[in-house]
């Protein structure tokens, strides 16, 4: 798996639970003291070992940890660059949902070897969306967290539900209760200076 995704797991564990917990997890998983590098690739088995060690160390389910990683990815200080990149997806939360199918392509524009799973958005009824991901087990849970954080960012009120997995295919159900429930965060097209 790409180093950036592994770094997200590392960053979350270190940021939220502290460097001691992270070093313990890294040791258990057989990862070197420097941790993951963002621009390198790692064997999926290593990622799995890190998640297993984190599950044991925190006494929490892997699904919950993955979901928290998703929220942390877009809500924490460290996640601000990613939050901005996702905001380029659309002016409103609905636009953002529609842009999710482009997410793997946008990821490839950034890093041709990023390897985000294919995403498909269906709208079975008005205001209800099913987001299906194929190819990266657990990605659906991460997306639940990401969607929760981004809904806050847009000021939308949503109900999110991981509707289960069928092999590597996972579906997240999104019920958009109010698109402009709260004042969202302002987004400037050109950030920084």
């Amino acid at each position: 798996m790409h180093g950036l995704m592994n770094r997200a797991i590392q960053g979350f564990l270190r940021d939220v639970y502290g460097p001691d917990l992270w070093s313990g997890v890294a040791r258990t998983a057989g990862l070197g003291p420097d941790g993951f590098e963002a621009m390198l690739h790692y064997d999926d088995a290593l990622t799995d070992a890190v998640l297993r060690a984190a599950t044991a160390a925190l006494g929490r389910a892997r699904e919950t940890i993955l979901e928290d990683i998703g929220t942390w990815l877009v809500s924490s200080q460290a996640g601000q660059p990613l939050r901005r990149l996702l905001r380029f997806g659309g002016v409103s939360f609905t636009d953002f949902l529609y842009s999710l199918e482009d997410l793997p392509g946008r990821g490839r524009l950034a890093l041709p070897d990023l390897g985000l799973p294919a995403l498909e958005l269906q709208e079975p009824q008005a205001g209800v969306y099913d987001l299906t991901s194929r190819g990266l087990p657990g990605f659906g849970h991460v997306m639940v967290g990401v969607l929760r954080g981004m809904a806050d960012d847009y000021g939308a009120l949503v109900l999110l539900d991981h509707a289960g997995a069928d092999g590597a295919t996972e579906t997240v159900r999104i019920q958009l209760l109010a698109a402009d429930f709260a004042e969202g965060r302002r987004f400037e097209l050109v950030g920084g200076g």
Binding site: A38, M39, L85, V91, R106, E188, L189, V190
Partner: protein, 328 residues
């Protein structure tokens, strides 16, 4: 059917045109601006309607376009222009004829897009949804992030490389340079034509210390010798442990035999003092052989090392605890 296919002519309202082309201008036959798209109106800061096009805009390329007739001749070509009020923000344009001698000009930001967006605080709503300007901004941002990560990675790798190189050139017991580092420095001095002195030092009675007091005592002696050699040489000298109890010192710029003998004598005196290890006295002394690069027409590393070695053995034969300079 004969003749060209029918081109449908259609009317479009100002608001719809503004949504499709938020940076358009309509010019009347006299060259006055009759309509302005909403984004262009936003960045112009003054009211453009009613102004003469050539008073409000600076047409940079193609050159020599100064009136409506010139502009009509350039219909369909890419134009490079700027607002006279904001000449640093370059714009690209396309002018096309309208009915009754008027013209429609569509503009876009060129490569100055990020500056313009920041300066005028433009948002997604200021661009047509079919425009890829926002994607360009996304790409710029993502590129900066990826470059930042790569720069970080390079910095860390560079740091790790320096540490690895340092470790590869260092003798772990004494912290002195090792044989490999000495070889590199020696070749470098010769290649750059730097005059230098070379000392080859061998401990006397070291084997006895190891055999009678053990390797820990031997290691203690070697560490002590390293401290002495560091203390008696200058910052830019290379002090290397090249074998069990053998050391080579390279002294750039030092080819005066008198001064070299002075340094060697101080080293020999200090190493002649008894070294105490865990209550036991370790007695060693040092024999030194020396040579200088200026003694050769074309100094070669192997030749200089072997000559210093010969001088070292002369010191040993003459009764140890002394220094000899190689005489060709």
């Amino acid at each position: 059917m004969d003749g060209p296919p029918l081109t449908p002519e259609f009317r479009i309202g100002a608001a719809a045109l503004g949504r499709v082309m938020p940076m358009h201008l309509c010019l009347d036959p006299a060259g006055r601006i009759s309509a302005v798209g909403p984004t262009l109106a936003k960045i112009a800061q003054t009211r453009l309607e009613g102004q003469a096009f050539f008073d409000s805009f600076l047409l940079r390329r193609p050159t020599g376009v100064a009136n409506m007739a010139d502009l009509r001749r350039r219909a369909g070509q890419q134009l490079h222009l700027a607002l006279r009020a904001a000449p640093t923000n370059g714009l690209r344009g396309l002018a096309l004829p309208l009915a009754e001698e008027g013209m429609l000009i569509n503009l876009s930001f060129g490569i100055d897009l990020p500056d313009a967006v920041r300066h005028h605080r433009l948002s997604d709503a200021d661009f047509s949804p079919t425009d890829l300007a926002v994607e360009l901004l996304y790409l710029l941002e993502v590129k900066a992030l990826v470059m930042g990560e790569l720069a970080d990675l390079n910095r860390r790798l560079q740091g790790a490389k320096s540490v690895a190189e340092e470790q590869a050139q260092t003798d772990t017991l004494t912290g002195l340079r090792n044989r490999r580092a000495m070889d590199v420095h020696l070749s470098h001095l010769i290649l750059t034509g730097t005059p230098f002195g070379l000392m080859h030092l061998d401990l006397d009675y070291f084997k006895q210390v190891n055999d009678t007091l053990g390797h820990a005592a031997g290691d203690h002696v070697l560490t002590h010798v390293a401290d002495v050699l560091r203390g008696e040489t200058r910052q830019g000298d290379t002090v290397a442990r090249v074998g069990g109890d053998e050391f080579v010192i390279l002294l750039p710029g030092l080819v005066d035999c008198g001064r070299l003998h002075g340094i060697a004598a101080r080293i020999i005196t200090r190493l002649g003092q008894p070294i105490v290890f865990e209550g036991q006295t370790c007695a060693v002394s040092a024999s030194i052989g020396m040579t200088v690069s200026t003694a050769y027409d074309g100094p070669r590393p192997d030749r200089m090392l072997s000559d210093a070695d010969q001088a070292l053995y002369a010191s040993k034969h003459a009764g140890r605890g002394r220094a000899t300079t190689f005489c060709p």
